[in-house]
Symmetry: C2
DNA sequence: ATAATAGAAGATAAATTTGTCTTTAATTAT
DNA sequence: ATAATTAAAGACAAATTTATCTTCTATTAT
């Protein structure tokens, strides 16, 4: 469904949301280990999410690392897709038609429409924080 | 969601199903034009679907081309995904976790589960023929 | 100030996907 | 038989994705 990069982005952000605060930052080592992703590649991805502190925040140097502000934790998961430039996946035609729409539907449009709506709803209504909260109780896993 | 190759595979197969029979075969030129796909790349993809005549049938030489048998037209769309080696997409975890399951769910598992089931249902219950039938009436488009 | 730490930035490389082109093989019509 | 047609097969190339490594910069502790 999504690229590896976006999968790592989602997992990393959810993990950081669960473990970090402005006081407690996480190193790239810890994050990559926790979500089972290649370290350097994950660093690159976090650079994207950190750009303009849009989603993830970071500071360099000793005691530095990555964290999410309370404001960021309230953001919908869809913002991560947007930051990764993969938001379109949610809206795209299953058959890859450029012109697929209500007026000019592909053969799967009618049925896929409902699925698409639920997908979008999932990423819009679930905040990063909501996705993160159950991890520490072992209800849910990120690795 | 799917690779370009699989998108072309679905579109091409649906188009062939709608236009062809054992008596009337379609050239790769016609198919690629009809579904707006690169000709040579589409030829490669049809080679895969034609392998062992599993889904698409073909004959070489004058008046040759691609077609679908009545039996093939009755097959579920999911077989195309399988032939393309992309069937796993339907079952895969949204976050890309290898171990995501009921017992060890990812943070999106509970919500995504229902979506996944509908996706699978769509590809299992819809036959290639069913997807193809509305094209000629202009109810539905493939380009 | 200096050294140590940790992310940012950039270069590079490996792997995969997407796409093209040429040659070969099968089939048909003449 | 021969020529024409059309898909099959294979080599190759371009683009994108995934991944690594090195150097630079900011920050902190001493």
């Amino acid at each position: 469904m999504f690229s590896k990069a976006t999968e790592y982005a989602l997992r990393a952000t959810i993990y950081i949301a669960q473990k970090s605060s402005e006081e407690k930052k996480l190193s790239i080592e810890e994050i990559a280990l926790a979500i089972d992703s290649p370290k350097s590649f994950t660093a690159k991805i976090l650079q994207v999410l950190t750009k303009d502190n849009k989603i993830v925040s970071s500071v360099r140097g000793p005691n530095g690392g990555f964290y999410l502000t309370e404001k960021a934790k309230k953001m919908p998961a869809r913002l991560i897709l947007q930051a990764m430039g993969e938001d379109e996946v949610l809206e795209k035609c299953v058959l890859g038609l450029k012109q697929c729409s209500e007026l000019q539907p592909c053969p799967m449009h009618a049925q896929y429409k409902a699925i698409k709506q639920q997908l979008i709803k999932l990423f819009v209504t679930k905040s990063i924080k909501q996705l993160a909260t159950e991890i520490k109780d072992g209800v849910v896993f990120i690795k």
